[in-house]
């Protein structure tokens, strides 16, 4: 195989060498991106298209007394203004949310529930005219009291959603585990550590904002180009909202300039563009502004209380978590319907808790809806951050080294499959090994010595550990669905006579490199050259049904489908091979990437030769060589890792410098180490941003304070640390190629490592916890408070 990346990644896997997998093959998709020939949504223009722009509410909570668009329609080039009145007339005023527990306004219907909510859509001949129009749409608002946090919401003084049957701001309660046994165990534990931990509101913020173009073609068929991580789900959602059957809808998701979960939801702008295209009989284009992008969804906003019981020797006895979730104005979380709080049950982490209990209550507030994703849709980040943060607090309380506390309580590798007290069955793992690799590689002992010296001099150096386990690969259809659709994925492989082929899946890469890794999986199974596979995703006319790419599910689900579809091809190929070699198919053995006649050395046929025969000499077999397969995974996969951060904190300014950061990931079998490493680098940078810089904060008036990149901070190359990586390999026993996943791991595992490191640096001052983001000021304030306390003694 040619074209291995020259810049060999640091990751050396422990897995055995293979033919096409496990190799750092350079990406097949890159030449177009490198030459500016990517095809992103705004690069697509249809003849006669109109431009749409949206009017947004400056109020977080208000009644709408009236909307006057007469001045706006005087702008040269103005075509139409649409409000909820028009949408309701077409019965598309509201959208079902993805997990089916709520519905969401397309355009504000009678009232606005959050700042920047969409109030009207304008359509014009030019983009500039559309933006001139939105300034002149007069909306008469009657401001209402703002509920800007869930603790205010739970009082129910102000009812935010009178449209719902239940007259309360409480959305749902969810719990898992054994409350009675957990309380009993906590009551008899030597130590009980309690901490309130907030995971702030953040945003995925891909560099390319969302957008779409809608056109009803001459046959009345909707051609819908849209930035979607899940095109098939969109098509089905459009069927459910618009009542148009799927054969009349084609959803095309072009190249995506990043997604990270932001391109999962169906946004009101999409519906308005389609409605406009339908009514005006012209193609309609809508591209988000950065402000629209940052104000239309969010991730996290969990307020968590954790209690951990432990014996005085440091053996964990019980875990209890109580969470208040802020869902914003609509319950638009894209979680599976049976899992309103996603996979939050992974909060027991890598540790063998005898008992545990997690309880969660979700509330409406006057904040943007969402709760979707940011390199982790399903609340794994919140859970992982909480347990890893809390483990350090327990270690501090017990005066133990945090690595020793973890070592003492890890689920042992012999315990897998491990049934957790919160109802997950972990597939495999070797936590202690991964931690040992990390500690060795970072030089933990030397770092502790250095830290001791520095502390003696009054310097603030910290070492932070996170030994996380996550749960990905949703999922098994008996548990998981989105809008009722089970979370399987399809794969289709067609081998051409030359031994090249085309691969289609229902997933959609946003930079993850599926065009390369999917080819590697299939090539590995068939002994063919991965360079000769075209990978096609994103067009619902051609791709098999699949739930899309988010929640680290592509490799666990679609990757499994691909391997099994390839094996299906291999079985058919065996028949053709037998015909060509004039033996019984039972005499054939698939070995070293070719069919061999058992007992007849040298009598072999390659897949390339079989492919040609499939079209030229199939015998009595069905000609051709292709397979379609839908894969319903038997279980989730459980990647894990150990991350270590080393920081220095500036006592005067509160500035944290991340001096080193090592990520040792165990993602099971690795398909392409170079790509895996790239995923880890990117996820760590996002984790770094969450730990230190990012937050969608709201002021008391309900103003969203993070509406553009001057206030929602994306780290540059200068702030971002230099990342170090390594990998261990514990294959998933149930996945066809033993793969787990990695896209989310760095973002799930790293925030705790950063925060643990800073708190470790401050621990000589008695600081126990600071909520993210750990801005300079927060760290400075913690240091000053501690110093003043000492001075007062």
């Amino acid at each position: 195989m040619t074209d291995i990346a020259q810049g060999s990644p640091e990751i050396v896997t422990e897995q055995p060498a293979k033919f096409a997998m496990g190799k750092s093959m350079k990406r097949k998709e890159d030449p177009r991106f490198l030459q500016g020939k990517g095809n992103y949504i705004d690069d697509i223009n249809l003849k006669g298209q109109l431009y749409m722009a949206l009017v947004h509410s400056p109020y977080p909570h208000a009644n709408i007394r009236g909307i006057d668009s007469s001045e706006a329609m005087k702008i040269p080039g103005a075509v139409a203004v649409v409000t909820s009145k028009e949408l309701n007339a077409y019965n598309v005023g509201w959208l079902p949310t993805f997990h089916g527990l709520d519905k969401q306004m397309v355009l504000a219907d009678g009232k606005v529930l959050y700042q920047y909510q969409e109030v009207a859509a304008v359509y014009a001949e030019t983009r500039e005219a559309a933006y001139d129009m939105i300034e002149l749409v007069e909306v008469d608002y009657e401001p209402l009291e703002v509920v800007n946090n869930p603790f205010k919401a739970m009082k129910d003084d102000v009812l935010l959603r009178p449209d719902r049957e239940a007259k309360t701001n409480h959305i749902y309660n969810w719990n898992v585990g054994d409350q009675g046994a957990t309380d009993a165990a906590l009551a008899t534990s030597d130590h009980v550590v309690k901490q309130h931990v907030v995971f702030p509101r953040v945003h995925a913020a891909p560099l390319e904002p969302c957008g779409c173009i809608a056109e009803f073609d001459v046959m009345g068929r909707l051609q819908f180009y849209v930035t979607s991580q899940a095109p098939h789900v969109y098509r089905t959602a459009l069927f459910l909202v618009l009542g148009i059957p799927e054969d009349k809808i084609r959803v095309i998701s072009p190249d995506l300039g990043g997604g990270f979960g932001n391109k999962v939801p169906v946004y009101p702008g999409y519906v308005c563009a389609i409605a406009g295209a339908l009514v005006l009989q012209r193609p309609v284009k809508w591209i988000e502004t950065r402000t629209e992008n940052l104000t239309s969804s969010f991730a996290r906003d969990y307020h968590m209380d954790i209690e951990i019981g432990a014996t005085k020797e440091g053996k964990l006895t019980a875990l209890k978590v109580n969470t208040v979730a802020d869902h914003g104005a609509f319950d638009a979380a894209a979680d599976p319907s049976k899992y309103p709080a996603g996979m939050f049950g992974i909060v027991s982490g890598s540790y063998d808790f005898p008992v545990a209990y997690a309880n969660l209550d979700a509330y409406f507030t006057n904040k943007q809806p969402g709760g979707v994703a940011y390199r982790c849709s399903f609340r794994v980040t919140e859970a992982s951050y909480l347990i890893e943060r809390a483990m350090d607090i327990v270690a501090d309380e017990l005066k133990m080294d945090p690595t020793e506390l973890r070592r003492k309580n890890f689920i042992q590798k012999e315990q897998f499959p491990y049934k957790s007290p919160l109802n997950f069955t972990y597939d495999s793992g070797d936590y202690e090994h991964t931690m040992d690799v990390a500690l060795e590689k970072i030089g933990y002992k030397q770092l502790l010595e250095e830290q001791a010296e520095k502390r003696a001099r009054g310097e603030l150096m910290g070492i932070g550990i996170s030994t996380f386990t996550e749960v990905t690969g949703a999922g098994p259809s008996k548990h998981f669905d989105i809008l009722g659709i089970k979370m399987f994925d399809g794969a289709e492989i067609r081998i051409h006579p030359s031994g090249s082929g085309i691969i289609r899946t229902g997933t959609k890469s946003q930079g993850q490199g599926h065009e390369t890794t999917w080819a590697q999986i299939v090539a590995e199974e068939l002994g063919l050259d991965p360079q000769n596979f075209l990978v096609e995703e994103g067009d619902t006319d051609t791709a098999p049904y699949g739930l899309g790419t988010y929640a680290s599910r592509s490799t666990p689900v679609a990757g499994g489908a691909l391997a099994l579809a390839a094996r299906k091809i291999r079985e058919k190929a065996r028949k053709i091979a037998a015909h060509v070699l004039e033996v019984s198919e039972h005499d054939l053995e698939w070995k070293d990437y070719a069919f061999h006649v058992m007992g007849a050395p040298g009598k072999t046929i390659t897949m390339k030769e079989v492919a040609f025969a499939a079209y030229t000499n199939p015998g009595d077999n069905e000609p051709g060589l292709e397979a379609t397969l839908y894969y319903d995974p038997p279980n989730m996969v459980f990647p894990h890792g150990t991350y270590v951060a080393v920081v220095d904190v500036d006592r005067d300014t509160g500035e944290t410098k991340v001096r080193r950061f090592l990520a040792v990931d165990d993602a099971g079998t690795i398909i392409n180490p170079m790509i895996v490493e790239g995923q880890i680098h990117g996820g760590l940078t996002e984790g770094f941003a969450i730990a230190f810089m990012q937050e969608i904060a709201y002021d008391e008036a309900g103003n969203n304070l993070a509406t553009n990149f001057t206030d929602y901070l994306i780290p540059t190359s200068l702030e971002s640390p230099h990342w170090e990586t390594a990998a261990t390999c514990t294959p998933s026993p149930h996945h066809p190629i033993g793969a787990k996943s990695v896209g989310e791991s760095p973002n799930v595992g790293s925030p705790a490592a950063f925060v643990n490191a800073v708190i470790d640096a401050l621990s000589p001052l008695g600081v126990r916890h600071i909520d993210m983001p750990l801005t300079r000021e927060k760290v400075w304030a913690a240091i000053r408070t501690a110093e003043n306390a000492v001075a007062a003694d």
Binding site: T653, E655, E777
Partner: protein, 291 residues
């Protein structure tokens, strides 16, 4: 987003630009680098009816030393200072500040004069101009006049440039061999406005006493401010650690920063102290003087 419509006029000479500004009065804005103006226009927070583009005026782009001053023309970009070898050799404060203004790409369009005229409360160049005791050259109806920087900076986004007038250049006294500076800036990330910053320049006498001190803080009030008390405390003295500490302690006394996402007022005030202190130390280090 897309700006509101405006009339664009191109000036090819100082006279032409001046004539346009006289004609359009308060409706017109000068377009130099545009790096603050254009984003504000894209948000439609700024919507001048007329933009007078001075970029085509060839004679406005210069960076030279004359008559004891470094003179910087109206369209001279930040990056020209950042990369000029003679600046790197002899102007430590300018070298330091020119590497941290906005971001590296913005610095290729952004201008020093434009930034001073914008007079943002968190301006880097305004603080630097104060510390180096710059003089602004303004063209008005009665010809050009020189305005010392302290009088030039009037209030947030307000300068001594009146309606219909324009600033032509900034003149900075050339530091001698016994003069060094330092720029200390805290920003949340590259490209953000300063959370707090301090510009410091010290000139030494042969006897080891401080001849002249320029100390200014920014993002600490409505405009960048001179810490005059600190300056006078230092002049004529031999630098000691106690003296530097006392001088730095003067900064928070005049600071009145707004609380915002960058930090509380208390934090920013304390940072004026920390950053002035660090700036003084670094300037002395560059002078080879141990306090």
């Amino acid at each position: 987003m897309f700006p509101a419509s405006f009339e664009y006029v191109r000036a090819h000479s100082s006279d032409e630009a001046f004539a346009h500004l006289q004609q359009h009065g308060s409706d017109a804005r000068v377009l130099a680098g545009g790096q603050s103006l254009i984003p504000a226009m894209r948000y439609r927070l700024a919507r001048p009816a007329v933009l007078v583009d001075i970029n085509p005026i060839k004679e406005f782009s210069y960076l030279r030393e004359e008559n004891g001053f470094l003179v910087i023309g109206a369209t001279t970009r930040d990056a020209q200072l950042e990369f000029a070898p003679f600046i790197k050799d002899r102007y430590s404060l300018i070298t330091a500040v020119s590497a941290v203004v906005a971001d590296p790409i913005v610095r290729h369009m952004g201008t020093v004069v434009g930034s001073i005229c914008h007079n943002d409360p968190a301006g880097d160049w305004t603080a630097t101009a104060l510390a180096m005791r710059a003089v602004m050259v303004v063209r008005g109806p009665n010809g050009t006049r020189q305005v010392p920087i302290d009088q030039f900076l009037v209030d947030s986004y307000t300068t001594a440039v009146n309606e219909g007038e324009m600033a032509l250049e900034v003149r900075i006294p050339i530091p001698d061999a016994h003069t060094q500076g330092s720029y200390q800036k805290i920003e949340r990330k590259v490209g953000d406005y300063a959370t707090c910053a301090a510009a410091v320049q010290l000139a030494m006498n042969a006897d080891g006493t401080i001849r002249q001190a320029g100390i200014a803080i920014t993002a600490s009030g409505p405009i960048a401010m001179r810490v005059a008390a600190a300056e006078s405390m230092l002049v004529g003295q031999r630098p000691t650690l106690e003296l530097l500490k006392a001088a730095a302690a003067e900064a928070p006394k005049i600071a009145s920063p707004n609380a915002d996402q960058r930090g509380s007022s208390e934090y920013k005030k304390d940072m004026t102290r920390v950053l002035v202190g660090r700036g003084l130390k670094q300037a002395l280090e560059r002078l080879g003087v141990t306090a």
